[in-house]
């Protein structure tokens, strides 16, 4: 399995790590579109998430949006520093702005997500 980032249509990214877990975050495009972020709610470690279903919420000055899990599995880590440092989402969305890590039910789920080229096409890049 390639370890580059994959993307959901709902703008979350997923990356397979060496230990078999999958790191999930929000694309730079989405962070920029949300603007003026004020609050974020993350799931607890140990929670089960399902592909395509909400695992958290993020609030900007004028809108609340759900975060959707790109794959199914169990949350093994959450970036608990993020809600108090939301600017990190904009400054380093693919690094320290990661959101959760999931132990996936199967890594093959990543195949169903978009690669960089397809995602760039989706956002008109």
């Amino acid at each position: 399995m390639e370890k580059s980032r994959r993307y959901a249509k709902s703008h979350e990214w997923a990356r397979l790590e060496d230990d078999g877990s999958v790191t999930v975050g929000i694309s730079a495009y989405a962070v920029e579109a949300l603007t003026d972020l004020v609050f974020m709610q993350l799931p607890d470690v140990g929670a089960t998430v399902t592909a395509g279903e909400s695992f958290g919420e993020i609030e900007s000055v004028k809108a609340v949006s759900d975060l959707y899990a790109p794959i199914s599995g169990k949350v093994v880590a959450a970036n608990t520093e993020l809600p108090s440092q939301l600017e990190t989402l904009g400054s380093d969305p693919y690094g320290s702005g990661w959101v959760i890590r999931i132990q996936p039910d199967s890594v093959e789920q990543l195949e169903a997500l978009m690669n960089q080229e397809a995602y760039d096409k989706l956002i008109g890049g």
Binding site: S10, V38, E59, V61, V64, S65
Partner: protein
């Protein structure tokens, strides 16, 4: 997240035209929130732009989705008020002398793409209507960082908020905010909540007391109802179709779907989620 209002329906589905409006009688907070959620799901299923206009009985405070419940508890002048948490964001609103709306826009419609378009459409239509009645109204262009954390929605100034000129010089902001809105971007549909303040609430003083539309309308400019009717017509015009005012399912107090959704909004867990 839903940034683009991506619809579960076919990408070739036609963009809906016209505006369907349900004018509902005043109801309790949990019911109102549940009815708006049902409205959003119906909008998605039927691919129509749906709007619900309603009041509140009893008068109720609604908190933004992420506001801290303790901030409400510590606001003494509200201690005896019923309270409900909205699914949408923003600050606390004291309902009773306002007209609240829920507007659901399916993902197939251009208005669902990006936060600003829907604000510009809804608030812009009212700015036009008020302008035609010689009231100087405008939309706030930038979010005021100094007011962002205010407990009350009507003390905040964020982009898109509708303000009218403060001719009396009584507002510390230099203007009166009379319409504020906030969105919940769901999968396949966007729900925008808004509150049009009609009159100053006689039961409140201090920070929670705000001027309403009826307090600033000049003689000969028509009534509050005239303004609302004109606003709705302008909205329908922007949707290139008819304004259809109809009885919605929320009139039916035995509506099972709304009753089921009400349980969530009346639960302690939802109210105290933060």
């Amino acid at each position: 997240m839903n940034l683009s209002g991506t619809s579960k329906s076919s990408p070739n589905e036609k963009q809906p035209i016209g505006l369907h409006v349900w004018r509902d009688p005043p109801a309790a907070g949990g019911w109102n929130m549940a009815a708006d959620e049902a409205l959003a799901r119906q909008s998605e299923e039927t691919n129509r732009v749906l709007m619900r206009l309603y009041g509140w009985h009893p008068h109720t405070v609604s908190l933004g989705s992420f506001q801290r419940c303790v901030d409400f508890s510590e606001t003494l002048e509200l201690s005896h008020w019923p309270v409900v948490r909205r699914p949408s964001g923003g600050g606390a609103i004291i309902h009773g002398t306002d007209l609240t709306y829920g507007l659901a826009v399916p993902g197939s419609h251009d208005w669902s793409r990006g936060t600003e378009k829907l604000y510009a459409a809804v608030h812009g239509a009212l700015v036009e209507e008020l302008g035609g009645r010689h009231l100087r109204a405008r939309m706030v262009e930038t979010t005021g960082r100094e007011t962002e954390q205010s407990f009350y929605c009507f003390n905040r100034r964020a982009f898109g908020d509708l303000v009218v000129e403060d001719a009396s010089g009584t507002s510390p902001h230099g203007n009166h905010k009379i319409l504020g809105s906030a969105q919940r971007r769901l999968s396949g549909v966007v729900l925008q909540h808004g509150s049009l303040l009609l009159h100053r609430n006689p039961h409140l003083q201090g920070e929670g007391s705000h001027v309403g539309l009826g307090d600033v309308l000049q003689a000969g400019s028509g009534s509050v109802n005239d303004v609302v009717d004109g606003w709705l017509q302008r909205l329908a015009d922007r949707l290139n179709g008819e304004l259809i005012v109809e009885t919605g399912p929320s009139y039916e107090k035995e509506n099972g779907e709304i009753a089921r959704r009400t349980e969530r909004y009346e639960s302690v867990a939802w109210l105290h989620r933060r």
